[in-house]
């Protein structure tokens, strides 16, 4: 079946091309957002760097215009910016006066560790609750779906604060400011994982209930398969599909949550850098991080497509 395989490859290549398109569009949005800064950018920057509020002479502004290219026509600046992106240049930080890639670089790994760990823990929690409570009598089912509805609607900051107060301040099981140590990572991961688990669980539960009523489940049961066996071997595989699709989206949401979690637990990461950059209005750093997150999001969605094909072999060569 060489044709179907090349079809699948072609579809994947198409997705890659459109992903690059998304990133270019995102870059354009962030570039033009920078132009929306009220007033002259060189003046705004000079005020920012000196902490003064005044009109500067052209001579005083010249070095900044030279350095950041503010005096060039917009189209030239835009093309330069895009060209820089393809060479991996995200611009120069207004406040730190070094390349944005350098500012973000070291901070990326702790944030990625946090989000990926949170995604994994969320899946374990969601599947655990689903497997144990779906269609297990009124009480357990009710308990499971109430837990999911409740946790799914909790804001990250509140989950983080409650975990911090209970497990770090009162019980002293985990450090209050954990940095990147293993024990300091537990609470930030849970902060992100608990609301996400509720959300993934809700989606999976609906699907699970429907799949449990399918004929092939009855068939499996008549073959004498145990209840847990049916749930694990047959039902789960179908029920997780919608949640897998949502995981790509979830990774984007997790990065946003990471901003909050890193802030609460004083954990280094791009979230901390981002909040500082927004506070000091260091636009190149802010847009740089936004673009990196967009890139992660796009890659995550490509991976989701691949994962989908693995879990659901029907998609491998079909169409």
């Amino acid at each position: 079946m060489p044709t179907s395989r090349s079809n699948a490859l072609g579809r994947f290549a198409g997705k890659v091309v459109s992903s690059v398109g998304v990133i270019v569009a995102a870059a354009s949005v962030t570039f033009f957002a920078q132009l929306a800064v009220p007033g002259d950018r060189a003046t705004a920057l000079m005020n920012l760097q000196t902490g003064q509020e005044k009109k500067w002479t052209p001579e005083e502004l010249a070095p900044l215009n030279e350095r950041f290219g503010f005096d060039k026509p917009v189209i030239v600046q835009y093309l330069r910016y895009l060209g820089g992106l393809f060479r991996g240049d995200l611009g120069t930080s207004y406040t730190q006066k070094r390349p944005v890639t350098e500012v973000i670089g070291g901070q990326l790994l702790p944030s990625l560790t946090l989000t990926v760990a949170a995604l994994a823990v969320a899946w374990v929690l969601a599947l655990g609750v689903t497997l144990l409570t779906v269609k297990r009598g009124r009480f357990l089912s009710g308990l499971g779906s109430t837990w999911e509805a409740l946790t799914a609607s909790l804001p990250h900051y509140w989950v983080g604060i409650v975990l911090l107060v209970v497990f770090a301040v009162e019980l002293r099981i985990f450090p209050i400011i954990g940095g990147t140590s293993a024990s300091g990572t537990v609470l930030p991961v849970l902060t992100l994982a608990i609301p996400l688990a509720g959300f993934l669980g809700q989606v999976t539960r609906d699907e699970f209930v429907q799949v449990l009523e399918q004929p092939f489940v009855t068939t499996a049961r008549t073959r004498g398969m145990s209840d847990l066996g049916v749930r694990l071997r047959h039902v789960l595989r179908h029920a997780v599909l919608p949640a897998i699709t949502l995981s790509g989206w979830a990774l984007g949401a997790l990065v946003a949550g990471a901003v909050i979690a890193e802030n609460i637990f004083g954990r280094p990461g791009i979230g901390q850098v981002l909040v500082t950059a927004v506070n000091t209005r260091d636009l190149p750093t802010v847009t740089g991080i936004v673009l990196v997150v967009a890139a992660i999001y796009v890659v995550a969605n490509l991976l989701v497509d691949l994962a989908y094909a693995v879990v659901d072999p029907r998609l491998g060569g079909a169409r």
């Binding site: 995102a26 957002a33 804001p155 984007g252 990065v255 909050i260 950059a277 636009l283 999001y297």
Partner: protein, 280 residues
Amino acid sequence: MTAATLALPRVVRLPRIGTVLAATVVVLVLVAAVAPGLLTHRSPTAIDLTATLRGPSWAHWFGTDDAGRDLLTRVIYGTRQSLGIGLGATAIAFLIAVVLGFTAALAGGVVDGIITRIVEVAFAFPALLLALLVIAVRGPSLATEIIAVGIGSAPGYARMVRGQVLTVRQAGYIEAAAALGHHGFTVIRRHLFPNAMRPLVAVVTLGVGQSIVWASGLSFLGLGVPPPSSEWGALLDAGRVHITTSWWLEILPGLVIVLVALAVTTLGRTLQNRLGGASR
């Protein structure tokens, strides 16, 4: 009529008690926003340096802050601003969404393609990052916070509006109205707009709850309304320095936000079911 009957969404039965509780919370919020004096006899700015950082007690249900101010009173007086931010942000989000959604769906072709693409890209950004980008450009303030949350949540609504318009456009009564010779704009105003927007009323309600949560998240990061305000997120931000000693400053205002968001969501869903049944 039969088609309409078939199209009825399945009615989800909500526990009555939940709806009643939710309605109670929402009524309390409205009273607190309009006439906070009815719910407390204290002043949100009354400083009492003999009673700073007291835990919750019979006299101070939510405890007191570092200036001895009654926290519950501050939460009650902060309601107006928090609710205002939620309503304002949702209004901005829907305004953007209606303009983009209607333009895309009605213009079709290249215009639709471009708008849809932009909306998809904006939707790909986590809303919080989009909001942070707006704050970085404009500098933190109350107005920025409202605009930021509005822009952050607009893309999701724009997709819904476009979808609604495309669906309603197919309806027989639109065709009939056009065939009767009504002017295009009249058809849009009298038939298309109301019918496309009706199912979104519930979504608006849900959106207000979401916006309040997001705005308080921004304030929590210190990027929203500056501290003297008793807006809910600003209360959270102000209490953070005392988290190791005075948990109530963080947990209790947070709990209020969570409860209000849950209540609004519950009512929104009830509304969704009712309207889903009522709209033909």
